[in-house]
């Protein structure tokens, strides 16, 4: 991992002190809400449905055990609403679950006034939880209940382990994400982490790019398989070697989800590694000047790239040439790359001999298979190959019954830190799929790690399977959501508990977003669920065939809508009907997404629409989903 220098440490501490000054002036009435808003956002503080939400930056997903322990402390000591607030919030969520439009001053749902047609599935009740950290698709960690008055204290605590919320929100360059297996993947050409770190530093508090037209997300991978969904980003970077063996970047621009899902366009096939900051500067400067500011929904760079196309590319090239002619100040010196790269050497591990481990694992598997098939399944699903033949990458599953996808309690965060120390050289990574990955596990320690993880409830062998779903916090926490995501996630998790069935269904990306902002990446799900709102009621659009650009999913693309929106009570049945169709149509060994592409979506759509019981008759002559209400995130 990157080792913070005195300069880096002082910088994070100065940021925390600056934030305390801003917060103090705000609470004193010297800094108005509108003026404070972008300042707190660029420190990760949103104001949500019931309380502020903090998004802590985890640069390219890497955390050390000390940082995990501080995140545990934040969850334990600060992620706590007052009992009154929690009671009021739960009451409001119960009203929503009963199909009632919540009022500003929520009163207990004293009667069963929800009409029969919208009465929720019993599982659709929200269970608000506190004292949790939440792993996000952009590899960050969020908290939902910290009072704003305590926000500066939390920033200081985080700064003690070099954590912060810099640029995790706001119209600026956001935290840079990467492949969860960066530096360890067997299919990697170049380790992207040193470049990601140099880019993190370059983008941090960039004075010119703090008030862009909209947020700006960069993802970087160095592997042949795209596990970072780079073509769904404002800028997607693939670091590689050209035919001459020189390292450089293939640069994509203008991808994004939201209400206009757009796959990024290749703008330059090769930018030499040491020029990447100069080139990014050109991309962002032209966007800052040209991006639309008159319409929030058209402000992302994807709209600019679509509208201007080659003219934008030409201007980026012209600006890049001007930067070079001016002295190319942000050319990365070899010495700087070497300094940063030295932080990312493989940690010392007491590794076993590979053959010995293989033999030992084979023995254990044989014995275990007789009374516990779960270990073999865990090896199959949660353990990945590693660049180093004696090491493995192990994913701790945070997809289990009773917790929202990606939620971790304070104790579990502490326990994860223990596991990282014991098995993974003190390092863990937040994954795009909202789990934690231990990147440096010696293969002969797998049985012990499995036993420890299982005791903690983090060894569910479901990585890549249906219940390893992505879901945003949705209408239980987020002020922008049109509908709740978590009860849908919970209901699907409950329905698909049987491991035999999950393994039989195989690898499926199920992604759930509570609104069109698409934080739950529904566009890229093989099965996507999107919450929409009509007349204050929750409805769900279902899409099929989306791809994040991974080998399994195929070329990056947005899924296609199945039909009018479904009622909450229908969604689980729709998922089941779609999967039944797959099981009927599949060839032996064929994945869901391949069957869908081969057989076409029609039979799947038919099956989905056949389960309608609430929405069989379009209500009041309208079809659901036609009047989708769009909002936009802060």
């Amino acid at each position: 991992m990157y080792q913070y220098t005195d300069f880096d440490r002082q910088f994070v501490q100065a940021r925390a002190a600056q934030y305390r000054d801003q917060l103090t002036r705000h609470l004193n009435g010297q800094l108005g809400g509108d003026e404070f808003r972008p300042l707190r956002l660029q420190n990760g503080w949103y104001v949500q449905r019931y309380a502020p939400m903090l998004r802590v930056a985890v640069p390219y997903g890497e955390l050390n055990s000390a940082q995990l322990r501080v995140l545990a402390r934040v969850a334990r000591e600060y992620d706590t609403p007052s009992p009154e607030l929690l009671r009021q919030a739960q009451t409001t969520q119960d009203q929503i679950a009963h199909g009632q439009v919540p009022t500003a001053s929520a009163t207990p749902a004293d009667s069963d006034s929800g009409n029969a047609e919208t009465r929720p599935h019993p599982a659709m009740r929200s269970q608000l939880k506190t004292n949790l950290g939440h792993f996000t698709t952009r590899q960050n960690v969020q908290f939902n209940w910290i009072p704003l008055e305590k926000s500066a204290d939390v920033m200081e605590l985080l700064a003690s382990v070099n954590l912060h919320g810099i640029q995790t929100s706001g119209n600026c360059i956001r935290n840079i994400t990467s492949d969860e297996r960066a530096g360890i993947a067997v299919d990697e050409d170049v380790d992207p982490r040193p470049y990601a770190e140099v880019m993190r530093q370059w983008s941090t508090l960039h004075p010119e790019f703090a008030y862009l037209p909209r947020k700006f997300k960069i993802a970087i991978t160095g592997a042949r398989e795209d596990r970072a969904a780079i073509e769904w980003h404002d800028v997607g970077l693939r670091v590689l070697r050209n035919e001459a063996g020189e390292v450089g970047f293939k640069v994509y621009v203008g991808g994004g989800m939201g209400r206009t899902p757009t796959v990024a366009t290749l703008i330059r096939p090769f930018v030499p590694w040491n020029q990447i900051l100069n080139y990014l500067e050109a991309i962002v400067r032209v966007y800052n000047a040209w991006g639309r500011r008159d319409n929030l929904y058209k402000a992302r760079i994807k709209i600019l790239v679509k509208a201007e196309g080659q003219r934008y590319f030409d201007e980026v090239e012209a600006e890049y040439q001007r930067i070079l002619a001016d002295g190319a100040h942000h050319t990365i010196p070899q010495a700087e790359l070497d300094r940063v790269a030295a932080c990312f050497v493989m940690p010392e591990r007491s590794t076993c001999s590979n053959t010995e481990a293989e033999a030992r694992i084979a023995r254990i598997l044989k014995a275990a298979a007789e009374d516990d098939v779960e270990f073999a399944r865990w090896i199959e699903r949660n353990v990945a190959a590693h660049k180093h033949p004696e090491l493995r990458a192990v994913t701790l599953s945070f997809k289990r019954l009773g917790y929202a996808p990606g939620d971790a309690s304070a104790d579990q965060l502490d326990a994860a830190a223990e596991l990282a120390d014991k098995y993974s050289a003190g390092e863990a990574r937040v994954t795009h799929d909202q789990n934690l990955l231990l990147p440096w596990v010696a293969c002969d320690q797998l049985p012990e790690l499995w036993r420890d993880a299982r005791r903690l409830g983090l060894a569910r062998p479901n990585i890549g399977l249906l219940t390893d779903m992505i879901a945003c916090p949705g209408g239980d926490y987020c002020a922008l959501a049109n509908a709740r995501s978590l009860p849908i996630a919970q209901a699907i998790t409950e329905r698909f508990q049987d491991l035999d069935e999950l393994f039989d269904l195989g690898e499926i990306d199920l992604h759930i977003s509570g609104c069109i902002n698409s934080c739950g990446h529904h566009h890229s799900g093989h099965i996507g669920v999107l919450g929409v709102d009509k007349d204050g009621q929750e409805w769900y659009q279902v899409t099929l065939g989306g791809s994040d650009g991974s080998d399994l999913s195929g070329p990056t693309r947005a899924g296609k809508v199945v039909g009018p929106s479904f009622a909450a009570a229908e969604v689980v049945d729709v998922v089941e009907a779609v999967l039944d169709t797959y099981q009927t149509l599949r060839n032996p060994g064929e994945n869901f997404i391949d069957t869908l592409h081969r057989a076409g979506a029609d039979l799947f759509k038919q099956a989905a629409n056949n389960v309608r019981h609430v929405t069989r008759q379009p209500q009041r002559g309208e079809s659901h989903g036609s009047g989708v209400q769009h909002t936009v995130d802060a």
Binding site: F11, E208, H330
Partner: protein, 127 residues
């Protein structure tokens, strides 16, 4: 170049203005503006969250403009540091802003990673 951005009141700015102040629209391309004889260029912030003027300022400094670069419009004390680093040499604060805070908010960091209009080289080049 001045080391610290000069904070002007509206009256001071009005007094300091003369015919040689060039006012640049946010949509103007700073690469094409004629700079001969210009002593002061006023760049506008229609809202403090509209960041186009930062890039305009940077480009003007890169072109070698040595005169006064003035921030006008919705100019808040909490953005002075970004303005200074992007090449502004003066700022006309919005009427409700407390100019006394300027010194404090400008001194909150000892250094930055990336180069800017004032300190062209990034930290890794300087070190």
């Amino acid at each position: 170049m001045t080391s610290s951005i000069q904070v002007l009141t509206a009256e001071q700015a009005a007094h300091a203005s003369d015919d040689r102040v060039l006012t640049l629209d946010n949509s103007a391309d700073a690469h094409g503006v004629a700079l001969e004889g210009v002593q002061c260029i006023a760049l506008h912030f229609p809202k403090f969250t509209d960041g186009r003027a930062y890039s305009q300022a940077f480009v003007l400094r890169r072109r070698g403009f040595q005169g006064e670069l003035r921030a006008t419009g919705d100019v808040l004390v909490d953005q002075l540091l970004q303005m200074q680093r992007s090449g502004f040499s003066s700022a006309v604060l919005r009427a409700d802003q407390d100019a006394a805070l300027a010194a404090r908010v400008l001194a909150q960091f000892n250094g930055f990673y990336q180069g800017d209009a004032v300190q062209r080289a990034p930290a890794f080049q300087v070190a």
